[in-house]
């Protein structure tokens, strides 16, 4: 069985799906990603689907699950490069992927994760305010 490679680039895991995945390959990717997020402690996952000419409900669900799992593990997932025809078909199929963040390409996906990280800083900032308040 083929396997989709997962690359670590800085604080991000990058996955570029280049093959027409069997269902088992998609499930394996889901597992591999969860393990790598925990092993590396990254806060962002980018999945590039620009090479996919279709996304059916199985792959759509796998992407949604990956996004949820990584959220639970404190990482954010951005799906990038969806083709226009794929977007139209997904919506007509009935899958509008509400829980998934999307961006045009890898660069914009990285920028999006970057933006969130400054929001994280905000959270930590608030944390510290609380501490300050409690200790005062």
């Amino acid at each position: 069985m083929e396997r989709v490679p997962v690359l670590k680039i800085g604080d991000i895991l990058l996955v570029s799906i280049q093959i027409d995945m069997e269902d088992q390959v998609a499930l394996q990717l889901q597992e591999d990603l969860a393990e790598r997020i925990v092993a590396t402690g990254v806060h962002g996952v980018i999945i590039d689907i620009s090479a996919l000419d279709i996304v059916d409900s199985f792959v759509g669900r796998t992407l949604a699950t990956i996004a949820s799992v990584s959220r639970v593990l404190d990482a954010e997932t951005v799906v990038v490069g969806m083709r226009p025809a794929v977007a139209i078909t997904l919506v007509e199929l009935g899958l509008s992927l509400p829980g998934i963040r999307t961006a045009l390409n890898v660069e914009m996906g990285i920028a999006m994760i970057g933006t969130r990280e400054s929001t994280d800083v905000l959270d930590e900032g608030e944390d510290e305010i609380d501490h300050a308040v409690t200790t005062s």
Binding site: D20, M21, E22, D23, Q24, D53, I54, V55, D56, S57, F58, G60, R61, R83, P84, A85, V86, I88, T89, E92, L93, G94, L95
Partner: protein
């Protein structure tokens, strides 16, 4: 009416991938638009997976068709599985007995021009879909 027909047995995940690839090739050959190619391949992927998962395996036939006005592609998914007892329910968005999203049948129907289903308890399931060139 129909010129060429190709059959693929569906008994593994890998066969579902083969169905997608064959449908894509034929969709390009009959000159469906890019969006319509994407729709028919996606619908075929959903239905071939059902043939495998719920029908216990079966066969997919892909046919180039044309009527007096247009060319198109017809795909038949046939299995000897348990059949579908409550078809209206199975065609409802979100209904699944498997653990899928319940969008396979209903979504595939939205993606094609013609959708026929012949099923019943004990008689297996045969679904025929057609997509015409615009």
């Amino acid at each position: 009416m129909n010129d060429e027909s190709q059959r693929i047995p569906v008994t593994t995940d890998q066969d579902v991938v083969r169905v997608r690839q064959l449908v894509r090739t034929v969709a390009v050959a009959v000159k469906l638009s890019l969006v319509d190619q994407t729709k028919i391949v996606t619908a075929a992927s959903e239905l071939a997976r059902n043939t495998l998962v719920y029908g216990g395996g079966g066969e997919v036939e892909v046919v180039r068709v044309h009527n007096d006005r247009r060319a198109g592609i017809r795909i038949v998914f046939a299995d000897q599985g348990p059949g579908i007892v409550d078809l209206d329910l199975a065609l409802t968005d979100g209904y699944t007995t498997g653990g899928g999203l319940g969008l396979g049948l209903s979504g595939a129907r939205r993606l094609v021009d013609e959708f026929d289903i012949d099923t019943g308890p004990g008689k297996g399931t045969t679904i025929t879909i057609v997509k015409w060139c615009r």
